[in-house]
């Protein structure tokens, strides 16, 4: 809406400084209250009985022994819960979600799906009671791969949706003339790519507590990124007005996107509490966060591109198939975003894209940092490297030639602002002296002759906000107290990213008070303004702008009141660091506290302002320069050094932004080299649903990361030009590693994770 507003240039007092985070003391002292820390008087513990079959009808379910077990207070099955078809990802303004789930159904669609729930006086008793529930299944034929699921005659997992196990109708994007493009190409590259099933493995397992009061109002604590969506869908399914559902979330131990579904256990917890008239807590085990949480969509991509001999990319034909697992969750959104993202990154006039999302009898895949784009840009960026190889060009040069620039149409349909990606690439090339790196002596070290070293580049761009898929809205309320301190009310969740600190910085900066004087109230749907949820790298961009708008209104009102007390016109005075002063006579001043407080005959001021912001989208950019070492005897790839160069517009909190980038790289290294949630393709059973055999890199495995944050392409849609940073780093690191492996050993990998066995096998095939 205000894409044309010029970006304000000014000196900053608070923005751009790494102020002490408002939550840091609580967290390091262990005082911070997470949902799992909460205990209510008389609280019961809920547990879920999970299916030991991937696809089946429930013929009979006998809970009598469980109900009779001492300490058990209630048991729920599909026979005694409301049967309401509902969304798993209830984005209220999104066209891209799928109503395909019941709280409990008489059908099982994946191994590990909940089929019954127990509430008992202790977690142990609830757990023991699960073994006493007897379920008789009638097995149905199951499908575990999208390729099998779309075959004619494949068993249907759902009877809703477009049929044929499709979650949504194929997403198609056509631009230019694809046939003309290929006919003009000097050469064509074609390849297939495959992405595994990485899992976010957030530190805090899913957890919730439900408590009904005497007026039939539900208070619901839950670790969620989207408290208002949880409120909305709980109210809808339970048949309650929104006034009767209050959702609370304070500190969170991460979410990475996956905590923006409304989960089966959340409904069951609320219903168990209702049934027993006692508070009920449900907390996932680590095993359950895998089985019943959300992972990234495995993806198969076919990509064919036409190039001119001067490196111009002139045709792109791409088919993507995302594996949704047993339910739709974010499958539609991921498919749309991941597919349309492939219109961009590298310029191409003639584009034909087709994205599909397919149900399989496997655990549910959902939203996860990088939202479909991790997959599609892995393919795009690796094939661009292959084109450079074919042309005998430096990949940096070819990428630089083709990257999107200002004015190009972004996946959102809007022109891109600024040359962010070009500047990131150029900056990295300069800092690393890339030309020298390319022409370095490649003789192996005689002390470690089996080691080969390589460098690779990965590029990405990612939007802040889910526009146009979701018409977003950010809200903030700012109040100023009579002592001059300020309270910000926001619905934005604090996943652990420091978002509330950034919002407080923005309010303090705009209003003219000290950072320490701003308090943030969040995570209570009865108190804070409506919020769409913390996702799509948008909190600082979206809610930050709303908070700035609200703070601006409060500032104006404070100036007005101070002007009255100082007996000047409000345009003659200024407000800075909590002091109001006449601009021309700085000695004529008063503190904000004096301006706000009561004085003879005048009561204290009550100033409250709202900000509502409905953005389109901005794009952040990054180029990652990565060095790997490949052990040619073991196939082990070690990432040694990463120089990530990011453009995020105006930086609000440099250390927090850097932390996002480093964390994304760590997660991305895992996805590319070690992490894959494996499902047995015969039974649908999980093979490594735990942190022993699901291998996330730890601090010991981290390379040197020399983060460079540029403010190259600020976007007027965000506060002082700020854009998102949360998702970007995880997208660029993957292809940079794959390209570096090629540089080291001359072997192209088109999949992730690239595990040592794959590397060793490929080396032998190459040697043979």
């Amino acid at each position: 809406m205000n894409m044309t507003t010029p970006i304000e240039q000014r000196e900053f007092r608070i923005v751009g400084k790494s102020v002490k985070r408002d939550d840091v003391l609580e967290k390091v002292t262990g005082e911070a209250q997470y949902t799992g820390d909460i205990k209510r008087p008389g609280m019961l513990y809920g547990k879920i009985k999970r299916a030991s079959i991937a696809h089946a009808r429930i013929k009979a379910i006998d809970v009598s022994k469980a109900l009779a077990y001492p300490g058990v207070k209630a048991v729920l099955t599909h026979q005694n819960v409301p049967r309401v078809l509902h969304y798993g990802s209830p984005h209220p303004r999104s066209a891209s979600c799928t109503k395909d789930q019941y709280i409990l159904d008489d059908k099982v669609r994946f191994w590990g799906e909940g089929v019954a729930a127990v509430a008992a006086i202790s977690e142990e008793i609830a757990d023991e009671a699960l073994d006493l529930i007897e379920v008789e299944y009638e097995a149905l034929p199951a499908v575990f791969e999208p390729e099998d699921a779309v075959q004619p005659g494949a068993p249907l997992i759902h009877d809703v949706g477009p049929g044929g196990n499709l979650v949504l109708d194929p997403v198609r994007v056509n631009r230019g003339d694809i046939d003309k493009g290929f006919s003009e190409a000097d050469f064509i590259l074609e390849g297939t790519f495959a992405g595994g099933r990485p899992h976010p493995a957030y530190m805090e397992p899913n957890v919730c507590i439900a408590d009904w009061d005497g007026s039939n109002k539900l208070t619901f604590w839950t670790s969620t990124q989207t408290s208002f969506m949880v409120r909305g869908i709980l109210a809808e399914v339970l048949g309650l007005p929104l006034t009767k559902v209050r959702v609370l979330v304070d500190h969170m131990g991460g979410g990475f996107g996956a905590k923006q579904d409304v989960f089966q256990h959340e409904f069951l917890c609320a219903l168990l509490a209702k049934e027993t008239r006692r508070p009920v807590k449900m907390e996932f085990t680590r095993h359950e966060t895998f089985v019943a949480g959300r992972s990234r969509h495995p993806c198969r991509i076919w990509l064919k591109q036409g190039f001119k001999n001067d490196g111009t990319l002139i045709a792109r034909d791409m088919k993507l198939v995302y594996d949704s697992g047993a339910y739709g969750s974010h499958g539609p959104g991921v498919t749309i975003v991941g597919t349309t993202a492939a219109t961009s990154l590298y310029r191409c006039e003639n584009v034909r894209l087709e994205g599909r999302c397919v149900y399989t009898n496997t655990p549910v895949n959902g939203a996860f940092r990088g939202y479909g784009v991790v997959q599609s840009y892995y393919a795009l960026d690796i094939q661009m490297d292959e084109a450079a190889e074919r042309l005998g060009m430096d990949p940096a040069e070819l990428k630089l030639k083709n990257v999107v620039r200002a004015g190009d149409i972004a996946p959102s349909g809007h022109p891109i602002i600024g040359h962010g990606l070009e500047i990131c690439l150029k900056h990295g090339i300069d800092v690393l002296n890339w030309k020298r790196l390319r022409s370095r002596d490649r003789t192996p070290d005689p002390k470690r002759p089996q080691i080969r070293k390589g460098w690779g580049i990965g590029c990405e761009m990612h939007g802040s906000s889910a526009y146009p898929g979701i018409k977003e809205q950010g809200n903030a309320t700012v109040k100023i107290n009579e002592d001059g301190t300020v309270t910000l009310l926001t619905g934005a969740a604090g996943l652990g990213t420091g978002a509330h600190t950034a919002l407080a910085q923005i309010v303090a900066e705009e209003l003219g008070v000290r950072f320490e004087d701003v308090g943030v109230i969040h995570g209570d749907t009865d108190v804070v303004p409506w919020d769409i949820g913390a996702f799509a790298s948008h909190t600082t961009y979206l809610v930050g702008t709303a908070a700035k708008m609200a703070a601006g209104k409060v500032r104006a009102a404070v100036l007005e009141r101070a002007a009255m007390k100082l007996q000047v016109s409000s345009d003659e005075i200024d407000l800075c660091d909590g002091k109001v002063f006449v601009a021309a006579e700085p000695d004529r001043a008063m503190t904000v506290s004096e301006a706000m407080g009561p004085s003879r005959g005048i009561p204290a001021a009550n100033i409250v302002a709202n900000g509502t912001y409905e953005p389109t989208k901005s794009y952040s950019f990054a180029a990652h320069f990565t060095e790997v070492e490949v052990d040619t005897e073991t196939g082990i790839v070690e990432v040694k050094r990463v120089v990530p160069v990011h453009d995020v517009g105006r930086v609000i909190h440099p250390i927090a932004a850097q932390g996002q980038i480093e964390g994304g790289i760590q997660q991305g290294i895992g996805h590319t080299l070690t992490e894959d949630y494996l499902i047995d393709k015969k039974t649908g059973r999980s093979l490594n649903a735990g942190l022993v055999d699901y291998k996330m890199p730890l601090s010991m495995d981290m390379p040197d990361i020399e983060t460079i944050i540029l403010e190259a392409a600020p976007d007027p849609g965000g506060p002082w030009g700020a854009k998102g940073v949360g998702e970007d780093p995880i997208i660029a690191i993957g292809p940079s590693i794959a390209n570096a492996i090629y540089d080291a050993i001359g072997i192209r990998f088109h999949h992730y994770p690239i595990i040592p066995e794959d590397v060793l096998k490929a080396l032998r095939e190459k040697g043979a």
Partner: protein, 287 residues
């Protein structure tokens, strides 16, 4: 977590009696770093645990030039890892200790617990097998000493009879002409179960290998020796060709399985690579 009953023993005699009398599903509770996880993950059915940590006399570490290194059942991995004697004389054991779990786990876990769990991938077993260690076993009727290679009868299985308790381990002394190494293959650098572990302990006399023991972890139901590979190396100067041939032989001697951590073929390949590297590293002790 599943419920279980906790018993604290004040003496070996009492612990042994409890282990016998409490019936099946009763286990020694020492560091607990594996047992509690197994209970939580429902990998082991446990009704009773018998805590032996208050029993006096099980925390000692002694060394003498004839008997070697002896440590009690309560000695933690971390304590042993940080001993300069272990660092200097038992670099293979030290390397295994330092690669087990995390610092927090090592400060709680015991070496004897790691042995008694008898996991094929346990890090501390290969170096103790390569060094020819002995296990001290208490029962209410007598004490016995078992060579560690004979202690294991299968994956998770040992020669311990009901009521028997391992009180400590003795590792023979390390002469100046003995070189040692332990190499572990995993997907990450810490908090990692080994995909393959290879320990080597070798003696050199005037440039010739007079004795060598190669122990292979995670490639069989128990930690394996590679007797044919060892025989091929005894009496040689451990030159590159001899080492390569022996490493190939070790690949034939192991019996790996495929699982979620690695395929059998890959494990076998890594036995070859790590055996060669471990011998080389053991020789560097003298350099």
């Amino acid at each position: 977590m599943r419920r279980f009953d906790y018993h604290r023993a004040e003496t070996l005699e009492q612990a042994s009696r409890l282990l016998t009398e409490l019936g099946d599903d009763t286990f020694v509770f020492n560091g607990g770093t594996d047992l509690l996880v197994e209970i939580r993950e429902r990998l082991r059915r446990v009704r009773n645990v018998v805590d032996i940590k208050q029993i006096p006399g099980l925390s000692d570490i002694t060394y003498d030039e004839t008997r070697g290194l002896t440590f009690g059942a309560l000695v933690t991995v971390g304590r042993l890892e940080n001993l300069s004697l272990v660092r200097q004389r038992y670099p293979n054991l030290r390397s295994a200790l330092a690669s087990l779990g995390s610092i927090q786990v090592r400060n709680r876990a015991t070496v004897v617990g790691n042995i008694c769990r008898a996991s094929p991938s346990a890090d501390t077993i290969p170096p103790l097998v390569a060094d020819g260690a002995f296990v001290h076993i208490y029962s209410r009727t007598d004490m016995r000493v078992v060579p560690i290679a004979e202690f294991f009868t299968g994956a998770g299985k040992t020669v311990l009879a009901k009521g028997e308790i391992v009180t400590g381990i003795t590792v023979p002394p390390a002469a100046d002409n003995i070189g040692k190494a332990y190499l572990k293959h995993g997907r990450r650098k810490a908090m990692e179960l080994s995909t393959v572990g290879v320990a080597v302990s070798l003696a050199m006399e005037e440039g010739v290998c007079s004795d060598i023991r190669i122990a292979l972890g995670a490639v069989g139901a128990t930690v394996l020796r590679a007797p044919q590979a060892e025989a091929m190396l005894r009496g040689t100067r451990l030159d590159a060709a001899a080492v390569r041939n022996a490493a190939d032989k070790a690949m034939e001697e192991c019996t790996p399985i495929s699982n979620v951590r690695a395929s059998a073929d890959y494990r076998r390949d890594m036995v070859g690579v790590l055996t060669g590297r471990a011998i080389k590293q053991a020789l560097e002790t003298f350099a």
